[in-house]
């Protein structure tokens, strides 16, 4: 719950009513879940983390994650002689320093990332810039990631080389971290994964131009295409780390879309590129307790 500096009765009444409604929904869901779990295996007591999460993940999904983020196992990436000669590789040490320097610059100068850092700190999860952010070599298909096992944001030093791109990566992944901090998010549950990806796509991506290049919108197809962009991005993000058919991923995204699309915390608005929205969101953060 965001800390509220000064509550009034009318706001409290409205929030109490919403809270009661959401509790009623949650209670109904819990009852259904308990009934299902009683018939099946024993239900999970708390969200998994660490080794338990590794054990619970399917081996195909783990293998997929490890192929995308080869340095997550702890061994540094070793480029082949061919890639060194012709692939522009071989300077991983320098790339890492540049990436870390960019991350530091972004943390100092980006309003959007600072909203998230402040929101995490206010929620009791202060980000340690060394412990929670890692610059690594990744597969060329990704620019970043969130590792729920070690609770780290991964910034890909070989694909995210520019500050604009790194800002987008950090915003996206810190939203996942925020969801983990504030909620009992269990990423073995595909619905939780879909929800956090919907929120990240909603808040950090999907401007009109971005949707156009992604194929979700065009100058002849504008009306409400933001939602389609978010759904497509979320589906692709789910498929990147889960081994499942595309239709199934899309179905899961559709099933949780309405609720997750409306949840705009901690930024509070869908940023429009080229506008003053980021600064406005940054100034508004104090009103919601994200100091």
């Amino acid at each position: 719950m965001p800390t509220w500096v000064d509550c009034s009765e009318s706001v409290e009444e409205a929030l109490a009513r919403l809270d009661a409604e959401s509790k009623a929904n949650a209670a109904a869901r819990m009852a259904k879940k308990a009934a299902d779990a009683a018939a099946a295996a024993a239900p999970k007591q708390r969200p998994l983390s660490g080794n338990a999460l590794i054990d619970a993940m399917k081996s195909e999904d783990l293998a997929k994650c490890r192929s995308l983020y080869p340095e997550r196992g702890g061994d540094p990436y070793k480029p082949s002689w061919w890639n060194i000669m012709f692939g522009g590789e071989g300077r991983e040490g320098l790339d890492k320093i540049k990436c870390e320097r960019n991350v530091w610059q972004i943390a100092k100068k980006s309003h959007l990332v600072r909203i998230l850092l402040d929101a995490l700190k206010a929620s009791g999860c202060e980000v340690d810039i060394r412990r929670h952010i890692s610059c690594e070599v990744c597969d060329h298909s990704v620019t970043g990631g969130y590792d729920p096992i070690l609770n780290q944001v991964v910034v890909c030093q070989n694909t995210a080389r520019y500050q604009g791109l790194i800002q987008g990566v950090l915003t996206h992944e810190l939203i996942h971290m925020f969801d983990y901090c504030r909620n009992k998010m269990d990423l073995t549950d595909a619905k939780h994964l879909a929800c956090t990806e919907i929120r990240a796509a909603n808040l950090a991506h999907c401007s009109f131009l971005s949707a156009w290049t992604y194929g979700s919108a065009s100058p002849f197809n504008i009306k409400q295409r933001h939602q389609e962009c978010v759904k497509q991005r979320a589906t692709d993000s789910v498929l990147a780390v889960r081994d499942m058919p595309k239709e199934e991923a899309r179905e899961i995204v559709e099933s949780v879309f309405d609720k997750c699309y409306g949840d705009l915390e901690p930024i509070g608005r869908r940023i429009r590129r080229g506008s003053d929205d980021i600064r406005k969101a940054y100034k508004e953060r104090v009103y919601y307790g994200y100091i």
Partner: protein, 212 residues
């Protein structure tokens, strides 16, 4: 003309509630660049008003009333072509901007004539916005919210020794140690942008005028 603008801003800060100083100060630099003479005029009018409400009359949540520049900005932005396009792209229809207009009018009344009813109207409007924003958040019951913050072990699980060893002499380790010892700080974002070490971020608006 510009010096007059700066003095007016200084007057404006003292004329307002002290508990709103932080909001005015964070906006200081922004306000200095855009229409500060307009801002100045209203500050002086406010301080000349003889019928200021007493402490008891003032609404409890007066801190929710933002400077009129904010409402003017939001109103003109809401009606701009780019914003209309974005509204159509996201929601499939144009947003009703009359809320910002009424807030702007009420803000002028409050700052100009200390009209308490106008201030209350703005406060109710702001509460509505808060309600609308948080409603989406509380309606998201896909997951359960945590009632207890994460423990240290959950927030910082132990890293494999190979990864830790790699971090020992890294740039971010240097900065993290600096933050712990107090030598380094992330600092204020606007200040960092203004002093501009390392150049501007391409995704941020960087155009502003310097008063000096």
């Amino acid at each position: 003309m510009r010096l007059t603008g700066i003095f007016c801003l200084a007057d404006n800060i003292t004329a307002r509630e002290t508990n709103r100083n932080f909001f005015v100060e964070t906006q200081n630099f922004h306000l200095q660049t855009t229409k500060f003479s307009f801002h100045c005029k209203f500050a002086m009018t406010g301080s000349e008003n003889e019928k200021s409400p007493t402490e008891q009359d003032k609404p409890k949540h007066l801190w929710m009333v933002k400077p009129c520049e904010h409402y003017k900005d939001e109103y003109s932005d809401c009606r701009s072509f780019k914003a209309r396009f974005h509204q159509y792209f996201v929601a499939g229809e144009m947003t009703d901007c009359s809320g910002w207009k009424s807030d702007l009018d009420n803000c002028y009344k409050w700052e100009g004539k200390q009209d308490l009813e106008a201030a209350n109207n703005i406060i109710e409007s702001e509460k509505g916005r808060v309600r609308q924003r948080l409603q989406g958040h509380y309606n998201n019951d896909i997951w359960q919210p945590r009632k207890v913050p994460l423990s240290e072990a959950e927030w910082k699980p132990p890293l494999p020794p190979s990864i830790e060893k790699g971090y020992e002499a890294s740039f971010l380790q240097l900065k993290a140690d600096g933050i712990k010892s107090g030598e380094e700080t992330l600092g204020d974002v606007d200040e960092n942008i203004r002093t501009g070490a390392g150049g501007m971020l391409d995704s941020e608006q960087s155009s502003y005028c310097c008063i000096v």
